[in-house]
Amino acid sequence: MSTATFPTQTDAAAESERSLRMYRRMVMIRRFEEHVNDLYTRALMPGLAHLYIGEEAVAVGVCEALRPDDYITSTHRGHGHCVAKGAALDRMFAELLGKEAGYCKGKGGSMHIADPATGNLGANAIVAGSAGIATGAALAAKRLGNGRVCVCFFGEGALGQGVLYEVMNMAALWKLPVVYLCENNLYNEYTHYSDTTAGDILTRATGFGLRAESVDGQDVRAVYAMAQQLVDRAREGAGPSFLMANTYRFLGHHVGDVSRDYYRSKQEEQNWKGERDPIQVLREWVVSQGFPAANLDEIQEEVRSEMEKAVAFAIAAPYPPVNQVDQDVYA
């Protein structure tokens, strides 16, 4: 997990340390999602699973710019955000399997992981559903003067929801420390975003008084650099911003979405996977900096075994007793 103590990018040692940390996080997310796919396919995981594979650089680059006590809100495609913000893998898997040891005691599942300890206000299964929550957390941070920033992750599909503009307007009026992080992976489910999004996305944000930027969402270093600017700015009281990270989900909208030809070509998928894999992009950069590839492989290995332990923990964990069903309705 990042802490606010790292020096600036000019420090080469810190930069390579950061790169390795981000590499590890991205690999963690990738492996996590592969296990989810596997658990799902083996009918061990109930419900639906929306995988983040291909988009890892966004969550990791952004969360690298955050303090542990900063807030995030997440989406139906939220595993990556949770991992990037520092969630424990075993408790995440347990939640996905509906086990009592999960982050939400099994009550939330894949789409609702929340964790006060890592500032995770919760994934949300309503598209744009957390825009208000994120903005409110920023308002509270400002009022309480605790210096926290909130990042509101959402897919470009959320640009269809009016509530997003309502809260961006208020965030701008009140100069709230919030970054609206639009993960543009080109598709709202099975529909290309150009069929659902008129005009120009960044101009929209500018029109509501936000600083608006876009970034290559497959380049974790670029994401980090831009996110850090916007987070710093928010923390300093300069107000909200909007960052569009251009990315791509390598797999289906959810695990069951396997025949995708009717909405996008295999060629398109191949291009992204082959040329724009965020893990590969970072790996190439790291190696180009003279860092031995073996260390990266070691990271991969470490993550692999960590992950297997976490999965085993979750599989072995018990379901919540049925009498817990009416607990936690009221505080």
Partner: protein, 333 residues
């Protein structure tokens, strides 16, 4: 179901809905569908698969993720000569449309002194046990039932779904049509010939003498299952499906209650302040002096719907719960 049917096939509830839409779209060029991923994707539940091929993307119109906006657009289009069918993927999302449905769609006719009409249908879903957690599992139809100006339909079989959908589309008012997500693959007999089912007529799904089970949507199958179990115990249960909660066929419910003198109402909405309360009250009002016991209400547990399978299962009314309630009611437990 009518007595004389030629060429009745077994089709699924999803197919029945699709057929209804396709037939009405052929019949009336003003009918069109709009919603998220309705076209090529045929909706998240694939219920509309193929419609876009026949009718094209203007009549099977993919929208942005803007439930309030496109519901409002449907209201305006309905007022000005079209007959929109709005698709709201999960019934949980109707919260986003309440202002459009309740302050606009439901009131335009009345507020304009009868001048403007809003002939539109909102198709949406209800029902839990898909492990979809609290924001994708609710059965919120009671909200719409409360609102004058709306009609509310909850089909429980492919036959009903098709006939009621056709009537909903032809209705001159805003109609909300709730489909149980878990029943899309349920098969049942559906005539190949054209037919419609009027809104406001309950259906006796099973005749019986000892106890009346009034059940809606997903709960009709549950009630029929319970009735079968009860039969083994020598208890004869009548199962009644109101089919439309508004207009409500009070007469059929009350007559059955008078006959059996014991009534259970089962609905998958939250049990408190839900549809069961109205149904129970209507029956109590109409058959009070014939009832041997208070109407027994069974709804979803009053908790947000949990993800974990054993917890989720505990929140939904089951055959066993209905079976046991009936035995208690009859003093045979």
């Amino acid at each position: 179901m009518p007595e004389t049917l030629t060429a009745t096939r077994e089709i699924t509830m999803g197919e029945a809905v699709r057929e209804a839409l396709a037939e009405e779209m052929r019949r009336d060029p003003r009918v069109f569908v709009l919603g998220e991923d309705v076209a090529e994707a045929g909706t998240a539940f694939k219920v509309l698969n193929g419609l876009v091929n026949e009718f094209g993307p203007e009549r099977v119109l993919d929208t942005p993720i803007s439930e309030a906006g496109f519901t409002g657009i449907a209201v305006g289009a309905a007022m000005t000569g079209m007959r929109p069918v709005v698709d709201i993927m999960f019934g949980d999302f109707i919260g986003l449309t309440m202002d459009q449905m309740v302050n606009q769609a439901a009131k335009v006719h009345y507020m304009s002194g009868g001048k403007w009409k809003v002939p539109m249908v909102m198709r949406t879903t209800l029902g839990a046990t898909r492990r979809s957690a609290a924001q994708h599992s609710q059965s919120l139809h009671a909200w719409f039932c409360h609102i004058p100006g709306l009609k509310v339909v909850l089909p429980s079989t492919p036959y009903d779904a098709k006939g009621l959908m056709k009537s909903a589309i032809r209705d001159e008012n805003p109609v909300v049509f709730f489909e149980d997500k878990m029943m899309f693959r349920l098969k049942g007999p559906v005539p190949a010939d054209e037919y419609t089912i009027p809104l406001g007529v309950a259906d006796i799904k099973r005749e019986g003498d000892d106890v009346t089970i009034v059940a809606t949507s997903s709960m009709v199958q549950v009630a029929l299952g319970a009735a079968a179990m009860l039969e083994e115990y020598g208890i004869s249960a009548e199962v009644i499906d109101p089919r439309t909660l508004w207009p409500l066929d009070e007469k059929t419910l009350i007559e059955s209650a008078k006959k059996t003198s014991r009534v259970i109402v089962v609905d998958e909405g939250y049990g408190r302040y839900g549809a069961t309360a109205e149904l129970a009250s209507v029956i109590a009002e109409g058959a009070f002096f014939d009832l041997e016991a208070p109407v027994k209400r069974i709804g979803a547990m009053h908790v947000p719907i949990p993800f974990s399978p054993p917890l989720e299962d505990a929140t939904v009314p089951t055959e066993k719960a209905v079976f046991e309630a009936a035995r208690v009611l009859l003093g045979k437990n």
